[in-house]
Symmetry: C2
Subunit: 343 residues, 2 copies
Amino acid sequence: MPELRKDLFTDNWVIIAEGRDGRPIDYSQGTVPANDPADCPFEPGHESMTPPEIDAIRPSASKNADDWQVRVVPNKFSALSPQEPRSVPVKQGLFQRMNGTGSHEVVIESPAHSRRLSDFSPEQVERVLRIFQRRLRTLLGDERFQFVQIFRNEGREAGASLVHPHSQILALPFLPISFRDRLQASRKYYAQKQRCILCDVLEQELEKDERVISAGDSFVVLAPYAPRHPYELWIVPRQHRHDLRDLGEPERLDLAERIPETLRKLDDTLVNPPFNLLVRTAPTPNHHSEHPSYLEDLSEHFHWYLEVIPRIKRTAGLELATETHINTIAPETAAQTLRNGTT
Amino acid sequence: MPELRKDLFTDNWVIIAEGRDGRPIDYSQGTVPANDPADCPFEPGHESMTPPEIDAIRPSASKNADDWQVRVVPNKFSALSPQEPRSVPVKQGLFQRMNGTGSHEVVIESPAHSRRLSDFSPEQVERVLRIFQRRLRTLLGDERFQFVQIFRNEGREAGASLVHPHSQILALPFLPISFRDRLQASRKYYAQKQRCILCDVLEQELEKDERVISAGDSFVVLAPYAPRHPYELWIVPRQHRHDLRDLGEPERLDLAERIPETLRKLDDTLVNPPFNLLVRTAPTPNHHSEHPSYLEDLSEHFHWYLEVIPRIKRTAGLELATETHINTIAPETAAQTLRNGTT
C-alpha cells in the first residue's frame, strides 16, 4: 500500500511505493525497455495483460476489444491507490504521513508499438488530447484529489520504461509545493495588474520576436526567457483559459498539428532526443479544506500550456541541491536554431 | 559572459552560460568522461592545463608544484564569473536579469586519476574537508555572494564529466528558492519550540532506531523519513552547528572515516552506484539587503549535514513537473539492507 510522507525540511510530500520485492540490485541498471512487441502489454490483442480498461476511443462499442485507437488503463505498477478514501495526514512523532490515495493511469496513445510522437498523425494526437480532457474532467471532479499531472516520458533518458508510446496521468491528494509557488507568482502578478502573467509575456514575446519559434492561429511555440533546460519549449494557447478541459475542437485540431510539427524540429536539430512533455493545467480549488489566496481567481490568473523538455543534459549535484539550473543554450539561440532548421 | 535570469513563473534564478560555440549536436550524447590520464587536466604534472591555482594542500611551499595532495582551481568551463561586481537585478520588459557574478571552483581531491571516494583513505578525506572549510570561509566572507553550494558528482549518471575525483563549489549572488523553503521550515519550527528541527529528528531517530545505519561519537548516518531517492542517506553531526566552517579537528577526523565507510556500504549493496554528495550548510545572512525572518536566528535553527544521493532512478516527467518524487525503496528497507550488508 503506497504511502505519502511529508519531508519536514522542505514541506514536500514524497510518494513511498515499495515493490513487492525490495531487491536493490534490480535498481542498479535502471529499467530496460521491452522492445519485443510479443511481450508488450500495450499491443492490440494484449488487452488482458493490463488491468481493466478505464477509457478508450474505438470505432466499435465493445469494451476491451482490440480495435481501440487510444486506451487508458491503470498503471500496473501504480504509485498510488485509487480505492482508498480521502487521504488525511496522521502524525508519526515529529513526522506526518497519509494514505497514498490517488490515481495513476497510463494512456496508450497508439496501437503502433514503436512510434515517436513526432511521427504521429494530427488525427491521432487529437484523439490523445481528447482523452486527456476526458480524464481531467473525471479526475478533477473527484473530491479526493487536489491536483492532476499529465506527463509523457519519451526515451529511456527521459524515464520511459516501455517503448510503446504512452503518457501517464497522476491524480494527487495534495497540491505540490512547486505548483503552489507557480500559483503564488501568477496570483501576485494578477493582484497588481489585473492581468494574466502569461498573456502579457506572450504579447511581449510576439512583439520582440527573439524567442518565438512559430506562431499559429491558436498556439504560439516559444523558448521561455529563463529556461532550466537546453531547448526547453512552451506551446502556449493564445486564448486565456486556466485549464485544458474546455479546449474546443478547432483549437484541439490546431494543437494536434502543432505538437508533432514542433517535435520534428527538435528531432532535426537534436537528433531524436529523449524528452518529457508536461501539461501545465490548473488544479481544483474546491477540494481544499483551506482557501489560500493563490487559489482565488484561479481562472483569471493561471494560464494553461504545454512544456517540452529535451533531456540532453544530466541533472547533477547543483540541481539536486538547489534547483538552480545551469543552461548552456540561451533561449534566443535555441529559437533561432529551431526556426532555421538543421544547418 | 554568463547571465542570471529570473523565471517569472516560479521566481527561481536560472544560470544561462553559453559555450563559445552553440552547436547543439555536442549536447545530444552528453559529455564523455576522459579516461586517459595523459589527457586529464587534473593529473599531477598537468597543472598548466588548469586555470591558475586558488588553493592547495601540499608538503612543499611552492605554489603550482606537482606535489599537491588537494588542489582548488577555477572551473575551466565556469558557469559564473568571479571578476564582476556585485550582481544587481535589471528589468528587461516584464523580465529580470543580472550579471552572472559568482565563483565556480573545482576541488581536485586526489593525485590519483581514477579512485572512487569510497576508496579514499581517511587522511585524504580529511584534507578535502579542510579545503572545503577554507573555501567556505573565503567565499562566505565575500559580500557579493549570498549562498555557497559544495557538491560532488561521481559517475556519469550523476553528472560527472571527468573521471578524476573532484568536487565543485559554487558561490551564488542569490539565495535559491528551494533553500529559502528549507530555512522557512526550520525557522518556523524554531519559532514554535525554541529548538532545532534536525536536533529533534536526530533524537527521535536514535530512539526509534528504524532508519539509523550507524551512530558514531560525532556523526549519525541515517535514511531520512521522506527520502526523494532510493537509498538517500544523511550524515548528520550530533553537535548542533549551523555550518561546516567551524568543525574542529577531532570531528573532522571522525567524519573523514565515516564518509568512505558509508559509501562502501552503498557500493556493496548497489554495486558501485553513481551518486551525488551534497553539503547542506548555512548561507550568509549579512550580505542580504533585505532581512526576512528565516535569516534570523540562523545559527540556532539551521543544522548542517551531508546528503548522499545514489542515482539509480531516472528523473521522469512527474518529478520535472511537480518536484514530487516516487521512491520505490522505503527508508526502513534501505537502512536495514545497509546495516546488514549484502545478502
